[in-house]
Symmetry: D2
Subunit: 312 residues, 4 copies
């Protein structure tokens, strides 16, 4: 079933807020997200700033210990202008290295849906040729955490959240551990473009039309967000420092290889050691995100209980 | 001029050891390296273990404050077998996450120069299809540091060293700061294959035939190793933790953009923020290596004093 | 005014939960806390495990931008037995260093209020002389954070939380930034004894009788928890890694010296540099805690708006 | 035997430099060190800057696998003026937190050997009462590392080096692993006063008269520097980040408790967990230093092979 959902309330934390929509496992939701500053498709401020979330969406039957699969079929800007910040974050540069950016005004970008590119409005001479493709992604999505927690949409964790990883794009299926009844899915903070690390503290921030399918995979233990696209399976570690984020995503991948691909643990060591690829998700937010990837082409057949085998 | 050089003495630290060869700036050296364990092309142990280095090579005229450009034209295995270790390093996994590898015997690989692939000898059932392309790289190279230091070839720093980055491959030109008269270039630790992070503590370790050209770029200030290949310019930060390695390579790239591409510092913030890509070099050695890359296609024309403009 | 408050509901997160008690600024509360596992003075389980909190207490008139002063006059065990865990946390030891503890049963301690000491029940031969003084402290207390957040009592942050610092003991006044109307103070997780770092993941966990006075200091900007005892003023940085926790508490102290002691910023650099002392609060929880201290004896007179000058 | 040794050559790295003095195990050396900038007791520049070292001293019979015990009986300023830097290091403050110190001139201190205090020359109004006791310590000492290495006196490691820990003072015996024949002991960088962390990048830098006894403890395995004073045994972890330094000193202490005090590993977990104290040595140098201490009063009797039982 497809639900057309028009959000009218937005949250700045991911938690056990009252559900805005109730769906069944396998249902698809067509909705929209506002930009990081709370501005919608019409450029109207409809929420406070800081990655306001559409949702939460209650998925009937989801219970703690399950996994929620989030299949992103569409993420596309629903307006023709976005913005980014002008300064590399101080924590990305050497201590005491001055970024040299004194004017903190945001940069506005115009999107051209003919060429599918974004360009800076009123660029300086040095940036007058800067034009990036529209490559939409979603910066923040997740499920309500346990212990009655509600976690700021500035940060991320095992529940997902503000991972700001450019790989969360259309065609990806993400997997999140379910902590509460109904899972309570939230989504927001679209970027028309972002490179590694989100080192400006922003991508090109914009409101989006999004379509995704939420499915419950019963009683499957995962500790951190996972995902797959056409070519890779991947895991996310969301924490500071980057070293620890890398430990989490690497451990999560090792568990995945053993659980779902019937590899012995020693064989999984070798396979991961031979083929691992790391992506830096973000190094700006309170929790950094490191991604551990492995190409599907080098994996054995997944078993019948594998995450990637599941279909709604 | 081309120097054919047959090494007969190897060092386990990079420092002001007596030069094994003296060349002029712009000269090319054809030589060989032994594997990480000190075994040569014939499988004969000719050095103690731990990334023994061929060299040092004294480049006449190189003085502190200069840059040494190292143009790698050939890195290719000179024997048909290599090895890797079987276990993901404990520091790459969550604290207390047991890798489950009890047999620490190395894995031996056979190289087939017809198909240009490497396969495990006597694989387990789970790994019997594992075959990787031969994609040679050099794990460790560098110049003598200052203060009379000699730094272990297990680790890396501003002088280069054991960066274990798979991007140091044929076709790359690396740039190193010169700290002593003659620069004193060292090289060793070839890998037939390695993925991100060197998380097994090894790639496929093997002896190599190597050809490279060493050129002095006079009085140019760089703080960390840099490089370029056909598509990218890149910088390396070599230190623990990974967060700090990322700070160094990011700062170094920001300096590069301003110095060599005539960008204002604010414009360089935006350009780097929009296009940066990070590669995880290694997360195994005493110093980790993070790489900051930017595509040449998005850069302005380099100025006449730019590193990439220099030709011998 | 003194409020005798008997808690009957406990929270596992610190957030905007319904107030259990409403008081005025300057009022004193006499209440109790259950142990980390949810057991009360009678050894009865009254809550789920994980540092259940007494509260929240709504302080009338507290508004965002204020500071809440928490004057601890009493923290004392209300039963004669506690427990600790038997194993040094894996993240405190070198990667791969096996703690060698296979039996994860907790250690029980008997408290003797004659000698004011705690001793292990049924000790091994090697530990039969182990006896520690009763030196009570409170592991976790804090105020509701902003953005509608509710943060697990396993961790800590600018709002306080599970700092597990042995210096939060009777005689201390702690200062917390107020994020929501009424501040919403929570408290729990008493330890009869704990050394630096809480490296076993516990102190001697026990239920407590606690008495404290809550006062609102209007419109005073602080970013991290602060405190004072008879001899020191101190600040807490609560985050991973330890390096960043140290940055936060050091920066917070530098701000404090300038704001409240009328030192110029350069003079504050020297004073802090000459006299700083650091305590490791905890290196176990999801956020580590580092403490920056400076002896009162070396400080100039505080100004009239200083935190330490404030009296209810 | 006592050797009076007048140094006339100084090294900026700790390594296998030619011995300046040869002694027997158990001999005492009376010598002097220049200040961090290379100035001697007469204020004369006799070396380049950066913690120049007196030595190396070759101890006959010391071989790799031994331990070198360094008993400090005297460390005392041999002139009446020292200096410190004016600015808290950028890496000690939050990223982007400006220390506000624009004048980088050093502060000079006058030492008064009547009151045994040091005071700033020409203080600002705010610092006019600043007076610290003379509490001399040695910032940098160590032995030559393995692999032919020579390591900068700016940094530290398993071989000792620039630990800048204020606990290395008269009355302390330090223990270092021996890596090369003769151990090759170096010493320099005295501070008349330093607090935790060396956050200004200096203590009060001064030249010193030093007296110490060097003894070889044969074939005893230690991995990191250790020490004892009247009240404590302690270990040093020297590396970045601080989290990893803490892991090394904690693991080293756990090994020490089991090896020398005949505790079972589980008992050692509890003992360390109950009594550990951490000191922040330095958070300025390329390697940070964290100290793990345990009071002698809570330890069992050391066994006959214990480090602390050894006497020359």
């Amino acid at each position: 079933m497809i639900h057309l959902f028009e959000p009218d309330k937005f949250y700045l934390s991911i938690g056990s807020h009252p559900p805005a929509l109730r769906i069944e496992s396998g249902d698809t939701v067509e909705t929209s997200t506002v930009d990081a500053g709370g501005f919608d498709r019409n450029g109207v401020s409809v929420s406070g700033r800081g990655n306001p979330q559409t949702g939460p969406i209650h998925v009937d039957g989801a219970t703690p210990g399950d996994v929620l699969a989030v299949q992103f079929s569409k993420i596309w800007p629903n307006r023709d202008h976005g913005f980014c910040r002008p300064r590399i974050a101080a924590n990305v540069l050497e201590p005491g290295h001055d970024s040299g950016v004194e004017n903190h005004d945001i940069f506005n970008f115009s999107l051209d849906f003919g060429s599918n590119t974004a360009t800076i409005k009123d660029p300086s001479e040095g940036l007058k040729n800067l034009s990036v493709p529209i490559r939409p992604m979603i910066g923040c999505f997740g499920v309500a955490p346990d212990r009655g927690q509600a976690i700021s949409t500035a940060t991320s964790g095992p529940h997902g959240g503000n991972m700001d990883y450019r790989g969360f794009e259309p065609g990806v299926t993400a997997y999140l551990p379910v902590f509460v009844e109904g899972a309570l899915f939230h989504i927001g903070d679209g970027h028309a473009w972002q490179s590694d690390g989100e080192i400006l503290g922003t991508g090109i921030e914009i409101s989006m039309d999004v379509t995704f399918t939420l499915s419950v995979i019963p009683q499957k233990e995962i500790f951190w967000p996972r995902g797959q696209n056409k070519d890779f399976i991947f895991t996310a570690g969301n924490v500071r420092p980057l070293d620890e984020a890398l430990q989490h995503c690497s451990s999560e991948m090792l568990r995945w290889l053993v659980d779902d691909y019937d590899l012995s643990l020693p064989d999984a060591n070798i396979l991961l050691g031979m083929y691992v690829q790391y992506d830096v998700g973000n190094v700006y937010d309170p929790a950094y995100t490191m991604i551990c990837k492995i190409p599907k082409s080098v994996l054995p057949e997944p078993n019948k209980d594998a995450l990637v085998s599941y279909s709604a």
